[in-house]
Symmetry: C2
Subunit: 334 residues, 2 copies
């Protein structure tokens, strides 16, 4: 007769409509009981419309009844909020204080490298007034869900993504809100989105050290932050404010990343430092954290981001960055 | 006997300690009366400590008594807030929605070009959590002033500058504030700073469309905004949010400026578009405003900004940008 484990495996084949992740990955399977050739399964109803619940009930029943020794399958629904269901190993925020230094790019690059390595990854775009993540990943559809929760859409590489831009009628609509409303939306992206089971939830923070980063640092159980910067003195001065904020809020800085570090001349391959000498070692020292990577200005990468194809990007720099990130996370990780 | 006009001219030679601008330029001369070889002068006391008032009383008396036919000079002080005294022809905000596209650079470049052309200019740095202006202009001293007002320091080219970074113990101290506090400081920079008589007050906005730009648009009598952007699609998408915000708030967009538009290879002079094709015409159309200029990525300019020497910068692009800016301001200017 089929074991609980086998039933769970079969439910991992049932994709939730709209989410395209399985019942198990979304952590919707609350209880499995097997006795006398009868399986009783309790699913959580969070973020599922009545129609979706009906469909899942039929589909799960069908799959389970196909298992060896199971003649009857009873599928019921129990209430649970997305917050109760979410089971996330690491929440990591990418910040910089300064705008335009490539926070979203770094968030995207970490996300796609982890997904390639088989980790389950989500990205929470906390930049409410200037969200870049959906465009970078080529996502524009409205998230599915119900009154009880939102289901984040998946990127091509199966990264869960939630961003205010997925909720706006047009991607260039302005969100003219003061801080309290921005804080509320970020909290909702944490509490009302059904992320399910994730190894990593990456949070893309907006510039500054005001409402959005404060809310993220006070509300989300961060394992740590990654600090992005560019070599310009002016930028690093502002980035040091972000370092100080993380320190004051007792959030471990897991590493620093330099963007626009250099440019390789197309013909000669000569390296030019467009924004001054690398500040990698200096920033690592200021943050008390390792330098995880240095990325050049790369017109090809810029184009991939513009086209929504960041997930096609690959490079040696990216691989060594991903390895350094994973190493940093395994040190004193929460 | 000396006329009122001559007395005013002589008071224009009296520099206010700490400000290094004259009594007349700071608009502190409230009343001048001449009769029977006696001049009676009323000065405003805003932002002046008792010691500064004493010094100014003595100095102004001395200067006026040196005039032809004036035997006696009576100098008195009247109360007036900086807000009542400020006499500013144009308030122009530089915004973008997106961070790191060169708002502060554009603000600085407009400021120095106008100062070179003989205009009286001030810069209000409304980027409270990521201020770049003081570093760019090489200013670090604490502003002078008293309980009744703040006197902004002057740059080398005599631009008045006010920024939160001039009030912090260290320039890389983080300002970890939520929106209401940020809005309050910006309002203070407008109401409590003795700007005096200015042709242009330029406001450097932070990224986003939240508290800071909202406060500036609701509180300051803006003649218009200048929109800065870079050619990356991702950036222009966010910048269009800023365009929409200005339109919704009924603030005229006076022009758009493209930064990091191209890079000239050092050896061949060949033009490379690092972040994609120019979006100049497209953004001008979206904003319904002229394209005022296009600036390349210029390592030399980046270095000047890092060293606090932006005022040494000059180029053909800058000159034509300044002319285009002035032309745009003279069209339907408020």
């Amino acid at each position: 007769m089929a074991t609980e484990e086998q039933i769970r495996e079969s439910l991992d084949q049932v994709l939730v409509p709209g989410a395209m992740r399985s019942l198990v990955k979304l952590n919707l399977v609350r209880d499995i009981n097997v006795s006398d050739e009868k399986a009783s399964i309790a699913l959580a109803s969070a973020a599922l419309s009545p129609q979706t619940q009906d469909w899942l009930k039929a589909k799960a029943g069908e799959v389970v009844r196909g298992l060896d020794g199971i003649k009857e399958a009873e599928i019921g629904f129990v209430e649970a909020s997305p917050k109760e269901l979410n089971d996330i190993r690491h929440v990591v925020a990418v910040m910089s204080g300064k705008g335009g230094v490539g926070k979203s790019l770094v968030t995207g690059l970490i996300g796609l490298s982890l997904a390639r390595r088989g980790y389950e990854v989500g990205i929470l775009d906390a930049d409410i007034t200037g969200p870049s993540i959906p465009r970078m990943f080529g996502i524009s559809g409205r998230p599915a869900g119900s009154e009880t929760g939102i289901i984040p859409p998946l990127s091509k590489a199966e990264i869960e993504i939630m961003s205010i831009n997925l909720l706006l009628p047009h991607e260039d609509d302005a969100v003219i809100w003061r801080g309290p409303l921005i804080a509320k939306v970020i909290t909702q992206f944490w509490e009302d989105v059904l992320w399910g089971k994730l190894d990593y939830l990456l949070v893309d923070l907006p510039p500054g050290t005001a409402d959005a980063p404060l809310t993220v640092m006070q509300t989300l159980p961060l394992s740590g932050v990654i600090i992005a910067f560019t070599p310009q003195e002016l930028a690093t001065m502002v980035v040091r404010k972000a370092v100080q904020m993380a320190q004051k809020m007792n959030i471990p800085i897991k590493g620093v990343v330099e963007n626009m570090s250099y440019f390789l001349l197309p013909d000669s391959g000569k390296r030019i430092e467009l924004f001054g000498r690398s500040k990698g070692q200096e920033m690592a020292k200021a943050a008390g954290a390792p330098l995880l990577g240095q990325f050049p200005i790369d017109p090809e990468l810029a184009q991939l981001c513009d086209e929504g194809n960041i997930e096609r990007y690959d490079s040696e720099e990216l691989n060594s960055f991903a390895e350094a990130f994973l190493k940093a996370m395994s040190n004193n990780g929460r």
